[in-house]
């Protein structure tokens, strides 16, 4: 499977994801944001970091970059697009995903391992997980507080577009297991066609027992089909 990782000034998880992709046998290319053409790719990844120093709003400037126009086109043709952390913020700024990521409710940058629950395991991103499986992934963000309007929230629930929710290790989703104030504990969502996934937790940091755990592996193996 061919993948492309888009790199912006201020991206800082681009190499982590490249290592994870390589480990999982993806044929990966790194794409600088000033490129105007995308290499042929089955999967486009917008990595985490602080593109453009989070100026204006997280992801706002990156969301208007040259390469993003190509990403939007590819996404509309059905390419798979994965946005992680700042990548999720960028996807909301482009309009590929609805909703937005507000400042964490406690106003602090949160960097810790949290539990998330798999809410939909019938997509190309999540098919190798079990329904309601609990994963332990790392989050590291200042703006991860997912927010959207009521209509979109209804759509997310009715059309099964919620990928992951923050939970405790037993799978309870409540305020107590909500690290950042996200609406309904939402940690990751799909677009209506389910070819785009945006998520705040970092699966690429969880692909090796030596440094963490392997809970992120199945996201990549799902994509490989």
């Amino acid at each position: 499977m061919r993948s492309s990782v888009i790199v912006f000034p201020g991206s800082n998880c681009d190499r982590d994801i490249a290592v994870a992709l390589q480990k999982m046998q993806f044929k990966n290319k790194m794409v600088w944001h000033k490129e105007t053409a995308l290499p042929k790719s089955d999967l486009i990844i917008i990595p985490g970091g602080f593109s453009y120093g989070d100026y204006l709003r997280s992801g706002a400037i990156a969301g208007k970059s040259l390469i993003i126009e190509e990403v939007v086109k590819a996404a509309k043709f059905g390419s798979l697009v994965l946005g992680i952390c700042n990548g999720f913020q960028i996807l909301t700024e482009t309009g590929l995903l609805k909703g937005t990521l507000l400042r964490n409710k406690n106003l602090k940058f949160i960097n810790k391992d949290v539990h998330i629950k798999v809410i939909n395991n019938t997509t190309k991103f999540t098919s190798k997980y079990k329904l309601n499986q609990i994963l332990k992934l790392n989050i590291a963000h200042n703006e991860g507080n997912f927010f959207t309007d009521n209509d979109h929230l209804k759509e997310l629930n009715n059309d099964n577009l919620i990928a992951f929710k923050y939970s405790d290790e037993k799978g309870n989703t409540s305020n107590l297991s909500n690290p950042n104030g996200a609406l309904d504990n939402i940690a990751g969502i799909f677009n209506d066609k389910k070819n785009i996934l945006g998520m705040m937790p970092h699966p690429e940091r969880m692909v090796d027992n030596l440094i963490s755990n392997k809970d992120g592996v199945n996201l990549f193996s799902s994509l490989l089909g």
Binding site: L56, A60, T100, L102, N104, K105, L107, F147, G181
Partner: protein, 97 residues
């Protein structure tokens, strides 16, 4: 003749530019944690009459356009395209004289 027109130009060039301010605030139903913290701190400082604070952003925009209406439309477009996230933010445009 040319000299005269050059002499007049500073006046004209002043009029060729218009200046606007844009204020961006979070919408009413969107939680503004920063505003809340500022509010609590001011209350702790003894400002008990304080009812509510919303924190926002402020832009000063100069634009090469002499027609006020056209200029305002351009600023409005800037807001919609980049400066404002319409899902969570409201904005107000004012002309600065």
């Amino acid at each position: 003749m040319k000299l005269i027109s050059v002499k007049l130009s500073p006046l004209n060039s002043k009029k060729n530019k218009l200046k606007f301010s844009v204020t961006v605030t979070l919408k009413k139903d969107v939680l503004d944690p920063q505003g809340k913290v500022v509010q609590n701190t001011l209350k702790n400082l003894g400002m008990h009459d304080l009812k509510n604070i919303r924190q926002g952003k402020f832009f000063e925009i100069e634009i090469n356009e002499k027609d006020e209406k056209l200029a305002q439309e351009k600023v409005n477009e800037m807001c919609k395209k980049l400066l404002v996230n319409l899902i969570i933010e409201d904005y107000k445009i004012n002309i600065l004289k």
